[in-house]
């Protein structure tokens, strides 16, 4: 190994260490920013080292690519709204996967030009894997993006024979790969493989409902890592393998957490076309004969303002109504009155893992007030008042008690154990899962009807008057 190659190899090793150390620093909000910066330094070093590689002789096209990519990336990163974070991460996943697929396609085209005989088994297998995983990540991510952004309907898109067709596409991909690896590097079949891979990404995401997108985004995150990893096998570069598998495992862990929070298996999420996709679009209406107690701002303010402890349960409805800043104002006001305020965050409160925490952090709520489900559930029995803003299924006690309920077994926030419950909600409509919530009819529950933002603002002005 000559000097330049050694320098490159050692720089890659340093970059890999910085990635792992950077992620480790993400274990606490206090050090997370430095962790991200270290990972970015690692990436910069890896890119710089690659540029001195002897394989690279021409820089003009590279520079064009880097400049365009950096501009698009930077502008998107600064402009994106925090509520739109899931679709942005989705799109970025897609770009990462797409890049890996393109690298593998280009390698295939180059190698096929160099020799007439079959290419090495290792190389051709990893090329096929890289193309399939990368292309599926690319097209799947953009369908997920479309669903989250509202360009495509959030409802599961299904048609007769869908599962059979999907299975056939997948089987064709396997057969084509085997043929291309072992028998002949036929160009038409190769392009067919590329096309079918992109098609499969689309077909794989369209039957999944909007409410399940957190799982899909996490899974595609894992895929984008795996795509980079397989591309690493193709170009025989260890840094791609290391970084790719780190991302792959991160995505896997998050996927597993999301599935557990919804009490569903990954297979159920991917293949069951579950949920209506749009909040409030549930078909089952309240039966009407059960009594619902509603309160006005003044009464709600009395209960909140004179409580000793309050737990606020935010759901995506709060974020959709842009009520975060009003909620922060309410929190500060209650704290100044000596009320102990905490937030209960369900793992699927937002549209991606940890999304709600980011939305509340954006509203300048200190992260020390935000509590995970397991920590806060033990506190509800001693809580004077729980204020639910735009959450529904994650507080439905049917998940604990009603075996016939579709959400039975899903871990929920035990809001029903609090001494008083105030629920801010537009109407009695059902949530994502389209199921009734008996909590609304609990004698301890007061429904505070209206839009999240206006209602919290009214609450703020009433508490001020106390």
């Amino acid at each position: 190994m000559n000097l330049i190659d050694s320098i490159i190899a050692l720089t890659y090793l340093l970059a890999a260490s910085l990635f792992i150390y950077g992620i480790r620093e993400m274990s606490s909000p206090a050090t997370a920013r430095r962790g991200n910066l270290l990972a970015a330094v690692g990436m910069f070093l890896a890119i710089a080292a690659t540029l001195i590689d002897r394989q690279i002789v021409s820089y003009s096209w590279i520079m064009v690519g880097i400049v365009i990519g950096s501009l698009i990336g930077a502008v998107t990163a600064y402009k994106v709204k925090m509520t739109a974070m899931p679709q942005m991460v989705g799109a970025f996943n897609g770009f990462g996967g797409g890049a890996s697929a393109l690298v593998a396609i280009a390698e295939f085209l180059r190698l096929i030009g160099e020799t007439d005989s079959l290419m090495r088994f290792d190389t051709s297998v990893t090329i096929m894997l890289s193309i399939i995983i990368g292309a599926v990540t690319f097209s799947g991510s953009f369908i997920a993006y479309g669903k989250l952004e509202g360009i495509l309907s959030g409802a599961p898109m299904t048609f007769p024979g869908q599962k059979v067709i999907n299975a056939l596409v997948l089987i064709s991909l396997v057969i084509l790969s085997i043929y291309l690896v072992a028998v002949d590097h036929n160009m038409s079949l190769f392009y067919l493989l590329v096309g079918l891979s992109f098609l499969y990404g689309i077909m794989f995401v369209i039957p999944i409902g909007g409410a399940d997108m957190p799982v899909v985004i996490s899974l595609l995150n894992s895929f984008s890592g795996m795509a980079a990893c397989t591309a690493g096998f193709v170009v025989e570069n260890n840094i791609l393998i290391i970084a790719g598998s780190l991302v792959g495992s991160a995505g896997l862990i998050l996927t597993q957490i999301m599935c557990k929070a919804m009490n569903r298996s990954l297979a159920n999420v991917l293949f069951s076309a579950f949920g209506t996709g749009d909040a409030g679009a549930g078909s089952i209406r309240s039966s009407g004969d059960k009594a619902v107690r509603s309160v006005d701002a003044e009464e709600a303010a009395m209960i909140m303002g004179y409580a000793q402890s309050a737990v606020i349960v935010p759901g995506y409805g709060m974020a959709a109504a842009q009520a975060q800043h009003a909620v922060r104002e309410l929190t500060e006001l209650l704290e100044s009155r000596g009320v102990d305020v905490k937030f209960a965050i369900h793992p699927v409160a937002g549209r991606m893992p940890g999304h709600m925490n980011v939305l509340l952090a954006e509203a300048q709520l200190p992260y020390t007030l935000l509590h995970d489900m397991d920590d806060i559930n033990v506190e509800f029995p001693h809580t004077d008042v729980a204020l639910v803003i735009g959450a529904n299924d994650v507080i439905n006690p049917a998940a604990r008690t009603d075996k016939s309920s579709p959400i039975y077994g899903m871990p929920i926030l035990d809001v029903d154990k609090a001494k008083n419950i105030i629920i801010i909600k537009r109407s009695m409509n059902t949530g994502f899962a389209g199921i009734e919530n008996e909590l609304f009819y609990n004698p301890k529950t007061m429904m505070y009807f209206g839009g999240a933002r206006e209602k919290v603002q009214e609450l703020v002005s009433e508490v001020k008057k106390l």
Binding site: F19, N221, A228, I242
Partner: protein, 97 residues
């Protein structure tokens, strides 16, 4: 199976374990930044894209390579910047600026 492939697989398995180990320690409150940060790291495919693009005189592979460089750079630059933007918002106390 070639030695390179075996070496690659070894590194892959060990890196997966290292990843599972460090990522399991990340608290739920940081899961979104973790994901976007990890996302930026998956832009490492840029290395492969650079190698493909810079190799020879312009061919069809170069065009694919340039698109790959653009995609991966969006992923890297956008991912790290947006993660930084998010992490900047996480404060311990409201007064802390």
């Amino acid at each position: 199976m070639s030695e390179t492939l075996l070496m690659g697989l070894t590194i892959f398995v060990l890196a997966m374990f290292a990843g599972l180990e460090v990522i399991n320690k990340v608290p739920p409150t940081l899961h979104t930044p973790l994901m976007s940060g990890a996302n930026a790291i998956s832009g490492i495919a840029v290395i492969g894209a650079l190698l493909v693009t810079g190799r020879v005189a312009p061919t069809i592979e170069t065009i694919l390579g340039v698109i790959a460089v653009i995609f991966a750079t969006i992923n890297v630059v956008g991912g790290f910047l947006v993660t930084d933007r998010m992490l900047l918002m996480f404060k311990k106390k409201p007064s802390e600026k």
